[in-house]
Protein backbone atom coordinates (compact mmCIF):
# COMPACT_ATOMS: atom_id res chain seq x y z
CA UNK A 1 0.00 0.00 0.00
CA UNK A 2 2.78 2.37 0.92
CA UNK A 3 4.64 1.89 -2.34
CA UNK A 4 1.54 2.34 -4.42
CA UNK A 5 0.72 5.57 -2.62
CA UNK A 6 4.12 7.11 -3.18
CA UNK A 7 5.20 5.59 -6.47
CA UNK A 8 2.98 7.80 -8.66
CA UNK A 9 4.75 10.75 -7.09
CA UNK A 10 8.17 9.50 -8.14
CA UNK A 11 8.12 11.92 -11.09
CA UNK A 12 8.49 14.82 -8.68
CA UNK A 13 12.08 13.91 -7.89
CA UNK A 14 13.57 14.24 -11.38
CA UNK A 15 11.47 17.34 -11.91
CA UNK A 16 12.74 18.93 -8.73
CA UNK A 17 16.27 18.08 -9.76
CA UNK A 18 15.74 19.62 -13.19
CA UNK A 19 14.33 22.72 -11.55
CA UNK A 20 17.33 22.99 -9.27
CA UNK A 21 19.77 22.74 -12.15
CA UNK A 22 17.80 24.77 -14.67
CA UNK A 23 19.18 28.25 -13.87
CA UNK A 24 22.55 27.04 -15.16
CA UNK A 25 21.17 26.47 -18.65
CA UNK A 26 18.35 28.96 -18.95
CA UNK A 27 18.76 32.68 -19.42
CA UNK A 28 16.57 35.15 -17.58
CA UNK A 29 14.00 35.35 -20.37
CA UNK A 30 13.56 31.60 -20.61
CA UNK A 31 13.37 31.30 -16.85
CA UNK A 32 10.59 33.86 -16.83
CA UNK A 33 8.73 31.94 -19.51
CA UNK A 34 9.22 28.66 -17.66
CA UNK A 35 7.94 30.32 -14.49
CA UNK A 36 4.89 31.50 -16.34
CA UNK A 37 4.16 28.03 -17.65
CA UNK A 38 4.63 26.38 -14.25
CA UNK A 39 2.46 28.93 -12.48
CA UNK A 40 -0.15 28.50 -15.18
CA UNK A 41 -0.10 24.75 -14.54
CA UNK A 42 -0.79 25.45 -10.89
CA UNK A 43 -3.62 27.83 -11.72
CA UNK A 44 -5.17 25.52 -14.27
CA UNK A 45 -5.05 22.63 -11.83
CA UNK A 46 -6.80 24.78 -9.26
CA UNK A 47 -9.46 25.83 -11.74
CA UNK A 48 -9.86 22.20 -12.71
CA UNK A 49 -10.21 21.23 -9.04
CA UNK A 50 -13.23 23.46 -8.76
CA UNK A 51 -14.74 22.81 -12.18
CA UNK A 52 -13.81 19.21 -12.90
CA UNK A 53 -14.15 17.84 -9.39
CA UNK A 54 -16.32 20.37 -7.60
CA UNK A 55 -18.63 20.81 -10.55
CA UNK A 56 -18.49 24.61 -10.42
CA UNK A 57 -17.26 26.40 -13.51
CA UNK A 58 -15.81 29.77 -12.60
CA UNK A 59 -15.36 32.72 -14.92
CA UNK A 60 -13.98 34.86 -12.14
CA UNK A 61 -10.84 33.14 -10.91
CA UNK A 62 -8.86 36.25 -11.75
CA UNK A 63 -10.31 37.43 -8.44
CA UNK A 64 -7.93 35.16 -6.54
CA UNK A 65 -4.96 35.97 -8.73
CA UNK A 66 -5.48 39.63 -7.97
CA UNK A 67 -6.21 39.11 -4.29
CA UNK A 68 -3.03 37.08 -3.86
CA UNK A 69 -0.88 39.57 -5.74
CA UNK A 70 -2.27 42.58 -3.91
CA UNK A 71 -1.98 40.82 -0.55
CA UNK A 72 1.71 40.30 -1.26
CA UNK A 73 2.48 43.79 -2.50
CA UNK A 74 0.44 45.49 0.19
CA UNK A 75 1.90 43.45 3.04
CA UNK A 76 5.40 44.02 1.65
CA UNK A 77 4.97 47.76 1.60
CA UNK A 78 3.34 47.86 5.01
CA UNK A 79 5.56 45.54 6.95
CA UNK A 80 8.79 45.69 5.02
CA UNK A 81 9.13 41.93 5.49
CA UNK A 82 10.78 39.94 2.73
CA UNK A 83 8.27 38.86 0.09
CA UNK A 84 9.30 35.21 0.42
CA UNK A 85 7.99 35.04 3.96
CA UNK A 86 4.80 36.82 3.04
CA UNK A 87 3.83 34.30 0.39
CA UNK A 88 2.05 31.85 2.71
CA UNK A 89 -0.12 34.73 3.87
CA UNK A 90 -1.24 35.36 0.29
CA UNK A 91 -2.65 31.87 0.03
CA UNK A 92 -4.43 32.54 3.30
CA UNK A 93 -5.87 35.72 1.78
CA UNK A 94 -7.14 33.77 -1.22
CA UNK A 95 -8.63 31.05 0.97
CA UNK A 96 -10.36 33.61 3.18
CA UNK A 97 -11.72 35.41 0.14
CA UNK A 98 -13.17 32.16 -1.14
CA UNK A 99 -14.68 31.31 2.23
CA UNK A 100 -16.23 34.79 2.44
CA UNK A 101 -17.97 34.77 -0.93
CA UNK A 102 -18.96 31.12 -0.89
CA UNK A 103 -22.20 31.50 1.11
CA UNK A 104 -23.63 33.98 -1.38
CA UNK A 105 -22.27 32.41 -4.55
CA UNK A 106 -23.02 28.81 -3.70
CA UNK A 107 -26.71 29.54 -4.01
CA UNK A 108 -26.11 29.90 -7.70
CA UNK A 109 -25.91 27.16 -10.28
CA UNK A 110 -24.01 26.74 -13.51
CA UNK A 111 -23.94 29.94 -15.55
CA UNK A 112 -25.10 32.06 -12.62
CA UNK A 113 -22.22 30.98 -10.45
CA UNK A 114 -19.80 31.49 -13.33
CA UNK A 115 -20.93 35.02 -14.00
CA UNK A 116 -21.60 35.83 -10.37
CA UNK A 117 -18.00 35.26 -9.43
CA UNK A 118 -16.92 37.25 -12.50
CA UNK A 119 -18.97 40.19 -11.20
CA UNK A 120 -17.32 39.84 -7.78
CA UNK A 121 -13.94 39.95 -9.51
CA UNK A 122 -14.95 43.12 -11.36
CA UNK A 123 -16.17 44.74 -8.14
CA UNK A 124 -12.93 43.97 -6.33
CA UNK A 125 -10.90 45.18 -9.31
CA UNK A 126 -12.81 48.46 -9.34
CA UNK A 127 -12.45 48.92 -5.59
CA UNK A 128 -8.72 48.29 -5.81
CA UNK A 129 -8.38 50.80 -8.66
CA UNK A 130 -9.96 53.42 -6.48
CA UNK A 131 -7.84 52.74 -3.41
CA UNK A 132 -4.78 54.96 -3.44
CA UNK A 133 -3.19 52.97 -0.63
CA UNK A 134 -3.04 50.11 -3.11
CA UNK A 135 -1.63 52.27 -5.83
CA UNK A 136 -4.94 52.97 -7.55
CA UNK A 137 -5.03 52.32 -11.24
CA UNK A 138 -1.40 53.32 -11.63
CA UNK A 139 -0.24 50.31 -9.70
CA UNK A 140 2.33 49.29 -7.13
CA UNK A 141 5.98 48.38 -7.23
CA UNK A 142 7.19 45.56 -5.06
CA UNK A 143 8.88 46.67 -1.88
CA UNK A 144 12.03 44.57 -1.89
CA UNK A 145 13.90 46.50 0.78
CA UNK A 146 14.06 43.43 2.98
CA UNK A 147 15.76 41.32 0.37
CA UNK A 148 19.42 40.71 1.02
CA UNK A 149 20.39 39.16 -2.28
CA UNK A 150 18.77 40.88 -5.27
CA UNK A 151 20.89 38.77 -7.61
CA UNK A 152 19.22 35.62 -6.36
CA UNK A 153 15.75 37.08 -6.75
CA UNK A 154 15.26 35.96 -10.34
CA UNK A 155 16.29 32.41 -9.49
CA UNK A 156 14.19 32.35 -6.35
CA UNK A 157 11.13 33.45 -8.29
CA UNK A 158 11.81 30.69 -10.78
CA UNK A 159 12.25 28.04 -8.08
CA UNK A 160 9.09 29.15 -6.33
CA UNK A 161 7.21 28.81 -9.60
CA UNK A 162 8.66 25.32 -10.07
CA UNK A 163 7.69 24.41 -6.55
CA UNK A 164 4.13 25.56 -7.11
CA UNK A 165 3.86 23.74 -10.39
CA UNK A 166 5.16 20.48 -8.95
CA UNK A 167 3.30 20.76 -5.65
CA UNK A 168 -0.01 21.55 -7.32
CA UNK A 169 0.10 18.43 -9.49
CA UNK A 170 1.50 16.18 -6.76
CA UNK A 171 -0.89 17.65 -4.24
CA UNK A 172 -3.85 16.91 -6.45
CA UNK A 173 -2.62 13.38 -7.01
CA UNK A 174 -2.50 12.87 -3.25
CA UNK A 175 -5.81 14.60 -2.71
CA UNK A 176 -7.58 12.41 -5.22
CA UNK A 177 -6.37 9.32 -3.37
CA UNK A 178 -7.65 10.60 -0.07
CA UNK A 179 -11.16 10.25 1.30
CA UNK A 180 -11.85 13.85 0.40
CA UNK A 181 -10.67 13.19 -3.11
CA UNK A 182 -12.95 10.21 -3.44
CA UNK A 183 -15.81 12.33 -2.19
CA UNK A 184 -15.00 14.96 -4.79
CA UNK A 185 -14.91 12.39 -7.56
CA UNK A 186 -18.27 11.10 -6.39
CA UNK A 187 -19.71 14.62 -6.44
CA UNK A 188 -18.31 15.14 -9.91
CA UNK A 189 -19.81 11.94 -11.24
CA UNK A 190 -23.25 12.12 -9.71
CA UNK A 191 -24.24 14.68 -7.13
CA UNK A 192 -27.49 12.99 -6.15
CA UNK A 193 -25.85 9.62 -5.70
CA UNK A 194 -23.07 11.22 -3.67
CA UNK A 195 -25.61 12.82 -1.37
CA UNK A 196 -27.41 9.53 -0.97
CA UNK A 197 -24.28 7.88 0.42
CA UNK A 198 -23.93 10.61 2.97
CA UNK A 199 -21.43 12.92 1.32
CA UNK A 200 -21.94 16.52 2.35
CA UNK A 201 -21.80 17.98 -1.12
CA UNK A 202 -21.77 21.61 -0.03
CA UNK A 203 -18.88 20.98 2.35
CA UNK A 204 -16.88 19.16 -0.32
CA UNK A 205 -17.52 22.02 -2.74
CA UNK A 206 -16.52 24.59 -0.16
CA UNK A 207 -13.25 22.81 0.54
CA UNK A 208 -12.51 22.59 -3.18
CA UNK A 209 -13.35 26.27 -3.55
CA UNK A 210 -11.14 27.33 -0.64
CA UNK A 211 -8.16 25.26 -1.80
CA UNK A 212 -8.67 26.50 -5.33
CA UNK A 213 -8.84 30.10 -4.19
CA UNK A 214 -5.88 29.86 -1.84
CA UNK A 215 -3.51 28.22 -4.29
CA UNK A 216 -4.56 30.46 -7.17
CA UNK A 217 -3.85 33.45 -4.97
CA UNK A 218 -0.40 32.07 -4.16
CA UNK A 219 0.32 31.50 -7.83
CA UNK A 220 -0.77 35.03 -8.65
CA UNK A 221 1.43 36.41 -5.90
CA UNK A 222 4.50 34.52 -7.17
CA UNK A 223 3.80 35.63 -10.74
CA UNK A 224 3.62 39.31 -9.95
CA UNK A 225 6.44 39.05 -7.45
CA UNK A 226 8.68 37.95 -10.30
CA UNK A 227 7.63 40.94 -12.39
CA UNK A 228 7.95 43.25 -9.42
CA UNK A 229 5.11 45.43 -10.66
CA UNK A 230 1.34 45.22 -10.24
CA UNK A 231 -1.62 47.03 -11.80
CA UNK A 232 -5.29 46.17 -11.29
CA UNK A 233 -5.94 45.68 -14.99
CA UNK A 234 -3.24 43.00 -15.14
CA UNK A 235 -4.03 41.43 -11.77
CA UNK A 236 -7.75 41.09 -12.38
CA UNK A 237 -7.52 40.52 -16.12
CA UNK A 238 -10.21 38.15 -17.36
CA UNK A 239 -7.58 36.55 -19.59
CA UNK A 240 -6.31 34.70 -16.52
CA UNK A 241 -9.48 32.66 -16.35
CA UNK A 242 -9.56 32.48 -20.16
CA UNK A 243 -6.23 30.66 -19.99
CA UNK A 244 -7.33 28.44 -17.09
CA UNK A 245 -10.57 27.48 -18.77
CA UNK A 246 -9.10 26.85 -22.19
CA UNK A 247 -6.12 24.90 -20.92
CA UNK A 248 -8.32 22.68 -18.78
CA UNK A 249 -10.91 22.24 -21.47
CA UNK A 250 -8.46 21.42 -24.22
CA UNK A 251 -6.34 19.14 -22.09
CA UNK A 252 -9.22 17.38 -20.41
CA UNK A 253 -11.43 18.50 -17.58
CA UNK A 254 -11.63 16.40 -14.46
CA UNK A 255 -8.27 14.73 -14.95
CA UNK A 256 -4.90 15.63 -13.49
CA UNK A 257 -2.90 15.30 -16.68
CA UNK A 258 -5.37 17.31 -18.70
CA UNK A 259 -4.56 20.83 -17.46
CA UNK A 260 -0.83 20.15 -17.83
CA UNK A 261 -1.27 19.22 -21.47
CA UNK A 262 -3.60 22.13 -22.01
CA UNK A 263 -1.19 24.67 -20.51
CA UNK A 264 1.68 23.33 -22.61
CA UNK A 265 -0.45 23.63 -25.73
CA UNK A 266 -1.58 27.14 -24.77
CA UNK A 267 1.94 28.46 -24.23
CA UNK A 268 3.37 26.42 -27.05
CA UNK A 269 0.88 27.97 -29.44
CA UNK A 270 1.50 31.42 -28.04
CA UNK A 271 5.26 31.18 -28.38
CA UNK A 272 5.08 29.67 -31.86
CA UNK A 273 2.65 32.27 -33.13
CA UNK A 274 4.20 35.26 -31.41
CA UNK A 275 7.90 34.44 -31.48
CA UNK A 276 8.60 32.19 -34.43
CA UNK A 277 5.98 33.41 -36.83
CA UNK A 278 6.09 36.95 -35.61
CA UNK A 279 2.32 37.24 -35.52
CA UNK A 280 1.08 39.74 -32.98
CA UNK A 281 -0.26 38.64 -29.61
CA UNK A 282 -3.95 39.07 -30.38
CA UNK A 283 -3.99 36.37 -33.05
CA UNK A 284 -3.08 33.62 -30.71
CA UNK A 285 -6.05 34.52 -28.54
CA UNK A 286 -8.22 34.36 -31.63
CA UNK A 287 -6.75 30.96 -32.38
CA UNK A 288 -7.41 29.81 -28.82
CA UNK A 289 -10.97 31.04 -29.04
CA UNK A 290 -11.47 29.07 -32.22
CA UNK A 291 -9.84 25.99 -30.70
CA UNK A 292 -12.14 26.26 -27.68
CA UNK A 293 -15.17 26.44 -29.94
CA UNK A 294 -14.08 23.35 -31.85
CA UNK A 295 -13.10 21.40 -28.76
CA UNK A 296 -16.35 22.20 -26.97
CA UNK A 297 -18.31 20.75 -29.88
CA UNK A 298 -16.21 17.78 -30.92
CA UNK A 299 -14.21 16.80 -27.86
CA UNK A 300 -16.01 18.04 -24.79
CA UNK A 301 -13.88 15.84 -22.57
CA UNK A 302 -10.73 17.41 -23.92
CA UNK A 303 -7.86 15.92 -25.83
CA UNK A 304 -7.09 13.50 -23.01
CA UNK A 305 -10.63 12.23 -23.28
CA UNK A 306 -10.15 11.62 -26.99
CA UNK A 307 -7.16 9.38 -26.50
CA UNK A 308 -8.97 6.85 -24.40
CA UNK A 309 -10.84 4.02 -26.14
CA UNK A 310 -14.61 4.24 -26.02
CA UNK A 311 -15.11 1.90 -23.07
CA UNK A 312 -12.53 3.64 -20.94
CA UNK A 313 -14.03 6.97 -21.90
CA UNK A 314 -17.40 5.81 -20.65
CA UNK A 315 -15.84 4.65 -17.41
CA UNK A 316 -13.99 7.92 -17.02
CA UNK A 317 -16.95 10.14 -17.83
Amino acid sequence: MKTSTWFPLAWTLPCALAAWLAPHWLDAGLMRLASEVLLAICMAQMWNLLAGYGGLMSLGHQLFIGVGAYALFDLAQRTGVSPYWLLPLTSLAGALCAALIAPALFRLRDAYFAIGIWVVAEVVALLVSKTSALGGSAGLTLDMSALEDIELFGQMSFWLACALGIVSVAGLQLLMRSRLGLAMTAVRDNEVAARSVGIDVQRVRLIAFVISGGMSALAGAVYFMGGMFLVPSAAFDVNWVVMMLFATLIGGIGSIGGPVIGVLIWFGLREVLATSLGISGGWYLIAMGAVAVVVSLYAPRGLLGLRLPASARRAAS
Partner: protein
Protein backbone atom coordinates in the same frame (compact mmCIF):
# COMPACT_ATOMS: atom_id res chain seq x y z
CA UNK B 1 -33.24 69.30 -8.95
CA UNK B 2 -29.89 67.77 -9.67
CA UNK B 3 -30.97 64.48 -8.18
CA UNK B 4 -34.11 64.50 -10.28
CA UNK B 5 -31.95 65.04 -13.33
CA UNK B 6 -29.78 62.09 -12.35
CA UNK B 7 -32.87 59.97 -11.78
CA UNK B 8 -34.38 60.81 -15.13
CA UNK B 9 -31.14 60.28 -16.98
CA UNK B 10 -30.71 57.04 -15.07
CA UNK B 11 -34.09 55.87 -16.27
CA UNK B 12 -33.19 56.81 -19.82
CA UNK B 13 -29.93 54.89 -19.56
CA UNK B 14 -31.95 52.06 -18.08
CA UNK B 15 -33.91 51.84 -21.30
CA UNK B 16 -30.70 51.04 -23.13
CA UNK B 17 -29.69 48.56 -20.45
CA UNK B 18 -33.05 46.86 -20.81
CA UNK B 19 -32.34 46.47 -24.51
CA UNK B 20 -29.03 44.79 -23.64
CA UNK B 21 -30.86 42.37 -21.43
CA UNK B 22 -33.62 41.61 -23.91
CA UNK B 23 -31.51 39.55 -26.29
CA UNK B 24 -29.89 37.59 -23.50
CA UNK B 25 -33.27 36.92 -21.86
CA UNK B 26 -34.71 35.67 -25.12
CA UNK B 27 -31.88 33.22 -25.74
CA UNK B 28 -31.88 31.98 -22.21
CA UNK B 29 -35.63 31.68 -22.02
CA UNK B 30 -35.90 29.58 -25.16
CA UNK B 31 -32.66 27.65 -25.28
CA UNK B 32 -31.47 27.74 -21.68
CA UNK B 33 -28.17 29.10 -22.95
CA UNK B 34 -26.34 32.06 -21.47
CA UNK B 35 -24.69 33.65 -24.47
CA UNK B 36 -21.36 34.85 -23.12
CA UNK B 37 -20.62 36.47 -26.47
CA UNK B 38 -23.64 38.76 -26.13
CA UNK B 39 -21.44 41.72 -25.25
CA UNK B 40 -19.40 41.18 -28.38
CA UNK B 41 -22.62 41.14 -30.43
CA UNK B 42 -23.39 44.56 -28.97
CA UNK B 43 -19.96 45.90 -29.90
CA UNK B 44 -20.20 44.32 -33.36
CA UNK B 45 -23.37 46.29 -33.91
CA UNK B 46 -21.52 49.45 -33.00
CA UNK B 47 -18.73 48.68 -35.45
CA UNK B 48 -21.14 47.63 -38.18
CA UNK B 49 -22.97 50.90 -37.78
CA UNK B 50 -19.77 52.86 -37.62
CA UNK B 51 -18.56 51.49 -40.93
CA UNK B 52 -21.93 51.74 -42.64
CA UNK B 53 -22.23 55.38 -41.62
CA UNK B 54 -18.75 55.99 -42.92
CA UNK B 55 -19.42 54.36 -46.28
CA UNK B 56 -22.91 55.70 -46.87
CA UNK B 57 -22.71 59.19 -45.41
CA UNK B 58 -25.83 60.35 -47.25
CA UNK B 59 -28.06 58.04 -45.26
CA UNK B 60 -29.31 59.59 -42.01
CA UNK B 61 -27.68 58.06 -38.96
CA UNK B 62 -30.93 56.94 -37.35
CA UNK B 63 -31.96 55.08 -40.51
CA UNK B 64 -28.76 53.05 -40.45
CA UNK B 65 -30.23 51.20 -37.49
CA UNK B 66 -32.31 49.14 -39.89
CA UNK B 67 -29.46 47.53 -41.86
CA UNK B 68 -27.56 46.97 -38.62
CA UNK B 69 -30.53 45.11 -37.18
CA UNK B 70 -30.92 43.04 -40.34
CA UNK B 71 -27.23 42.16 -40.32
CA UNK B 72 -27.65 41.18 -36.70
CA UNK B 73 -30.50 38.82 -37.52
CA UNK B 74 -28.50 37.14 -40.25
CA UNK B 75 -25.43 36.86 -38.06
CA UNK B 76 -27.33 35.31 -35.17
CA UNK B 77 -29.17 32.92 -37.45
CA UNK B 78 -25.93 31.75 -39.04
CA UNK B 79 -24.16 31.32 -35.73
CA UNK B 80 -26.98 29.22 -34.37
CA UNK B 81 -27.23 27.09 -37.50
CA UNK B 82 -23.52 26.36 -37.76
CA UNK B 83 -22.35 26.17 -34.15
CA UNK B 84 -24.85 26.68 -31.40
CA UNK B 85 -27.48 24.16 -32.44
CA UNK B 86 -24.94 21.41 -31.95
CA UNK B 87 -24.09 22.73 -28.52
CA UNK B 88 -27.71 23.04 -27.44
CA UNK B 89 -28.56 19.53 -28.60
CA UNK B 90 -25.53 18.05 -26.83
CA UNK B 91 -27.51 18.16 -23.60
CA UNK B 92 -24.37 19.13 -21.71
CA UNK B 93 -24.86 22.34 -19.75
CA UNK B 94 -21.19 23.31 -20.02
CA UNK B 95 -20.89 23.01 -23.79
CA UNK B 96 -22.81 26.13 -24.84
CA UNK B 97 -21.20 28.10 -22.02
CA UNK B 98 -17.69 27.19 -23.13
CA UNK B 99 -18.57 27.62 -26.78
CA UNK B 100 -19.96 31.12 -26.32
CA UNK B 101 -17.04 32.01 -24.08
CA UNK B 102 -14.64 30.85 -26.79
CA UNK B 103 -16.64 32.80 -29.32
CA UNK B 104 -16.44 35.93 -27.21
CA UNK B 105 -12.65 35.64 -26.94
CA UNK B 106 -12.45 35.06 -30.68
CA UNK B 107 -14.70 37.99 -31.56
CA UNK B 108 -13.15 40.36 -29.04
CA UNK B 109 -9.59 39.79 -30.17
CA UNK B 110 -10.65 39.49 -33.79
CA UNK B 111 -12.11 42.98 -33.60
CA UNK B 112 -8.89 44.27 -32.04
CA UNK B 113 -6.86 42.84 -34.88
CA UNK B 114 -9.24 44.01 -37.60
CA UNK B 115 -10.35 47.37 -36.30
CA UNK B 116 -7.68 48.35 -33.80
CA UNK B 117 -8.08 48.98 -30.11
CA UNK B 118 -8.85 52.69 -30.19
CA UNK B 119 -12.23 53.90 -29.15
CA UNK B 120 -14.89 54.94 -31.59
CA UNK B 121 -18.30 56.46 -31.53
CA UNK B 122 -20.98 57.20 -34.07
CA UNK B 123 -21.88 60.82 -34.52
CA UNK B 124 -25.62 61.06 -34.16
CA UNK B 125 -25.60 64.51 -35.64
CA UNK B 126 -28.20 67.07 -34.79
CA UNK B 127 -30.49 64.52 -33.20
CA UNK B 128 -27.70 63.45 -30.91
CA UNK B 129 -27.18 66.83 -29.35
CA UNK B 130 -30.79 68.00 -29.32
CA UNK B 131 -32.37 68.43 -25.95
CA UNK B 132 -35.86 68.88 -24.67
CA UNK B 133 -37.64 69.89 -21.53
CA UNK B 134 -38.97 67.14 -19.27
CA UNK B 135 -40.44 68.08 -15.91
CA UNK B 136 -38.28 71.17 -15.91
CA UNK B 137 -35.11 69.23 -16.60
CA UNK B 138 -33.27 69.47 -19.84
CA UNK B 139 -32.77 65.97 -21.22
CA UNK B 140 -31.36 64.74 -24.47
CA UNK B 141 -33.91 63.90 -27.13
CA UNK B 142 -31.90 60.86 -28.12
CA UNK B 143 -32.01 59.11 -24.76
CA UNK B 144 -35.75 59.67 -24.62
CA UNK B 145 -36.13 58.16 -28.08
CA UNK B 146 -34.03 55.18 -27.02
CA UNK B 147 -36.18 54.56 -23.96
CA UNK B 148 -39.31 54.76 -26.08
CA UNK B 149 -37.74 52.42 -28.63
CA UNK B 150 -36.85 49.95 -25.88
CA UNK B 151 -40.40 50.01 -24.54
CA UNK B 152 -41.84 49.64 -28.02
CA UNK B 153 -39.56 46.69 -28.78
CA UNK B 154 -40.43 44.93 -25.56
CA UNK B 155 -44.13 45.46 -26.14
CA UNK B 156 -43.92 44.20 -29.72
CA UNK B 157 -41.95 41.15 -28.75
CA UNK B 158 -44.40 40.37 -25.97
CA UNK B 159 -47.30 40.77 -28.42
CA UNK B 160 -45.65 38.51 -30.99
CA UNK B 161 -44.97 35.84 -28.38
CA UNK B 162 -48.51 35.89 -27.02
CA UNK B 163 -50.64 36.44 -30.09
CA UNK B 164 -48.98 34.95 -33.14
CA UNK B 165 -48.41 31.42 -34.35
CA UNK B 166 -44.68 32.07 -34.38
CA UNK B 167 -44.86 33.17 -30.76
CA UNK B 168 -46.77 30.03 -29.78
CA UNK B 169 -44.21 27.91 -31.56
CA UNK B 170 -41.36 29.64 -29.77
CA UNK B 171 -42.96 29.19 -26.37
CA UNK B 172 -43.78 25.55 -27.06
CA UNK B 173 -40.24 24.86 -28.29
CA UNK B 174 -38.86 26.48 -25.17
CA UNK B 175 -41.00 24.09 -23.11
CA UNK B 176 -40.34 20.80 -24.90
CA UNK B 177 -38.08 20.91 -27.97
CA UNK B 178 -38.64 17.20 -28.64
CA UNK B 179 -42.41 17.27 -28.42
CA UNK B 180 -42.76 20.08 -30.99
CA UNK B 181 -41.10 17.77 -33.50
CA UNK B 182 -44.20 15.61 -33.26
CA UNK B 183 -46.10 18.60 -34.59
CA UNK B 184 -43.87 19.08 -37.59
CA UNK B 185 -41.71 21.81 -36.09
CA UNK B 186 -37.93 21.71 -36.38
CA UNK B 187 -36.69 23.04 -33.04
CA UNK B 188 -33.33 23.88 -34.62
CA UNK B 189 -35.05 26.26 -36.98
CA UNK B 190 -36.90 27.95 -34.13
CA UNK B 191 -33.60 28.35 -32.27
CA UNK B 192 -32.09 29.99 -35.36
CA UNK B 193 -34.93 32.46 -35.54
CA UNK B 194 -34.68 33.26 -31.85
CA UNK B 195 -30.92 33.72 -31.94
CA UNK B 196 -31.37 35.88 -35.00
CA UNK B 197 -33.78 38.09 -33.09
CA UNK B 198 -31.51 38.22 -30.06
CA UNK B 199 -28.51 39.20 -32.15
CA UNK B 200 -30.61 41.77 -33.99
CA UNK B 201 -31.60 43.37 -30.68
CA UNK B 202 -28.04 43.23 -29.40
CA UNK B 203 -26.45 44.74 -32.48
CA UNK B 204 -29.15 47.38 -32.68
CA UNK B 205 -28.58 48.27 -29.05
CA UNK B 206 -24.86 48.44 -29.71
CA UNK B 207 -25.39 50.83 -32.58
CA UNK B 208 -27.48 53.05 -30.34
CA UNK B 209 -24.92 52.83 -27.58
CA UNK B 210 -22.19 53.95 -29.96
CA UNK B 211 -24.04 57.21 -30.41
CA UNK B 212 -23.89 57.95 -26.72
CA UNK B 213 -20.43 56.82 -25.75
CA UNK B 214 -17.05 55.70 -27.00
CA UNK B 215 -16.57 52.01 -27.52
CA UNK B 216 -13.59 49.70 -28.01
CA UNK B 217 -13.52 45.99 -28.81
CA UNK B 218 -13.12 45.40 -25.07
CA UNK B 219 -16.39 47.17 -24.22
CA UNK B 220 -18.34 43.98 -24.73
CA UNK B 221 -17.44 42.35 -21.44
CA UNK B 222 -18.95 45.07 -19.31
CA UNK B 223 -22.12 45.18 -21.44
CA UNK B 224 -22.55 41.44 -21.20
CA UNK B 225 -22.30 41.61 -17.43
CA UNK B 226 -24.85 44.46 -17.41
CA UNK B 227 -27.19 42.48 -19.64
CA UNK B 228 -26.84 39.50 -17.36
CA UNK B 229 -27.50 41.61 -14.31
CA UNK B 230 -30.57 43.15 -15.95
CA UNK B 231 -32.04 39.73 -16.60
CA UNK B 232 -31.31 38.42 -13.12
CA UNK B 233 -32.48 41.54 -11.28
CA UNK B 234 -35.63 41.65 -13.33
CA UNK B 235 -36.31 37.98 -12.80
CA UNK B 236 -35.89 35.17 -15.24
CA UNK B 237 -38.65 34.64 -17.72
CA UNK B 238 -40.16 38.07 -17.31
CA UNK B 239 -39.68 40.63 -20.04
CA UNK B 240 -41.27 43.44 -18.09
CA UNK B 241 -39.03 42.42 -15.23
CA UNK B 242 -36.11 42.97 -17.57
CA UNK B 243 -37.32 46.51 -18.27
CA UNK B 244 -37.61 47.12 -14.55
CA UNK B 245 -34.19 45.57 -14.02
CA UNK B 246 -32.69 47.80 -16.68
CA UNK B 247 -34.22 50.94 -15.22
CA UNK B 248 -33.06 50.08 -11.72
CA UNK B 249 -29.52 49.39 -12.92
CA UNK B 250 -29.43 52.55 -15.01
CA UNK B 251 -30.42 54.66 -12.04
CA UNK B 252 -27.93 52.87 -9.78
CA UNK B 253 -25.20 53.43 -12.33
CA UNK B 254 -25.76 57.17 -12.64
CA UNK B 255 -26.33 57.77 -8.96
CA UNK B 256 -23.13 55.85 -8.33
CA UNK B 257 -21.25 57.97 -10.81
CA UNK B 258 -22.58 61.11 -9.16
CA UNK B 259 -21.33 60.32 -5.71
CA UNK B 260 -18.19 58.62 -6.94
CA UNK B 261 -16.99 59.80 -10.30
CA UNK B 262 -14.49 57.14 -11.29
CA UNK B 263 -16.43 54.12 -10.10
CA UNK B 264 -17.24 52.64 -13.49
CA UNK B 265 -19.99 50.06 -13.13
CA UNK B 266 -19.20 49.45 -9.46
CA UNK B 267 -22.56 50.50 -8.07
CA UNK B 268 -24.51 48.61 -10.70
CA UNK B 269 -22.46 45.49 -9.87
CA UNK B 270 -22.97 46.00 -6.14
CA UNK B 271 -26.71 46.33 -6.63
CA UNK B 272 -26.64 43.08 -8.56
CA UNK B 273 -24.76 41.25 -5.81
CA UNK B 274 -27.12 42.60 -3.17
CA UNK B 275 -30.14 41.49 -5.21
CA UNK B 276 -28.63 38.03 -5.58
CA UNK B 277 -28.32 37.69 -1.86
CA UNK B 278 -31.57 39.29 -0.79
CA UNK B 279 -33.98 38.33 -3.56
CA UNK B 280 -32.39 35.76 -5.86
CA UNK B 281 -35.53 35.36 -7.92
CA UNK B 282 -35.41 38.96 -9.00
CA UNK B 283 -38.03 41.70 -9.04
CA UNK B 284 -40.59 39.68 -10.97
CA UNK B 285 -39.81 36.51 -9.08
CA UNK B 286 -39.39 34.24 -12.07
CA UNK B 287 -37.94 30.73 -12.00
CA UNK B 288 -34.47 30.82 -10.53
Amino acid sequence: MDWLSTLINGLLLGGLYALFGLGLALVFGVMRVVNLAHGEFIVLGAYAGFFLVGWFSTVPVWAMLIPVVLIGYGFGWLLQATLLNRAVRSGNVLTPLVLTFGLSVLLRNGMVELFGADSRAVDAGALGSASMDLLGISVGVYPVLMLLLALALFASLQWVLQHTEFGRTVRATADFPDVVRLMGVKPERVFCQVMGLAAAFAMGAGYLLAQRTLLTPFSGVERMLVAFEVVIIGGLGSFWGAIAGGLVLGVAQLFGQRIDSNAGSLYAHLLFLVTLMVRPKGLAGGRA
